[in-house]
Symmetry: C2
Subunit: 133 residues, 2 copies
């Protein structure tokens, strides 16, 4: 995902309060689905939580790989997908690559999923007008 | 996803503040990945937003299908995946099936993605101790 696409996603989120308040259009849904798809894998979720929760804000790839039973290239591929989704950024310094969370994206997702203030819970078993009985 | 699994996810979320505060273990990551994977598709995101934003709290499947260029069985399959992920519930009444949001799950995801209060933004370009220069 390019910086331009991330910017568009940010604008959408500012203009439209979230997933729960109005139907998404096709472009909004396509952009958001890319990010959720990146989160839809257990290894990527564990990587993201390791990066996000690290004191100091960033993690060397050399400290991520030993936690997993998969190969270094597989870890690198998962990190690339998280980066393409705008969830993390990376910087090479010397021998190693360091990863850090981009909290703007997780903030956006949290906002998109949050219930608008004052929205009541749907009533279970509520009968819509005109429903067949 | 069974009700028991949903309950475990809820307990995890209560015990552990979120994705950004501590590394997820394998079981937590596997459970959460199922839900994010369900959100990682544009048609499912549009379906969820249509269901969630409907005044009255529920939508007849007969009102969802005309908004898409895909077949009724495909829509039904996407709705099944959203339901298995614990994001929506359904009820058959007469001829039609009605869908409603399960806001407990979107609330949980929003909480899991939210930054803990007072957590600072990571500092860009921060040098960790012992990094090769």
């Amino acid at each position: 995902m390019s910086n331009q696409e991330l910017e568009v996603l940010g604008q959408d989120q500012e203009c439209c309060p979230g997933l729960l308040t109005a139907p998404l259009d096709e472009d909004q849904a396509a952009e958001l689905a890319k990010v959720f798809k990146a989160l839809g894998d257990p290894v990527r979720l564990r990587l993201l939580s390791m990066i996000a929760s690290r004191a100091g804000g960033e993690v060397c790839v050399c400290d991520l790989t030993p936690a997993f039973d998969v190969s270094q290239p597989t870890i690198s591929h998962h990190l690339k997908l998280l980066k393409q989704a705008g969830l993390i950024d990376s910087e090479r310094r010397g021998t190693w690559v360091y990863y850090r969370l981009l909290p703007q994206m997780t903030d956006r997702l949290a906002g998109i999923l949050a219930r608008p203030a004052g929205q009541p819970l749907p009533q279970i078993g509520q009968e819509p007008a005109g429903a067949p009985s």
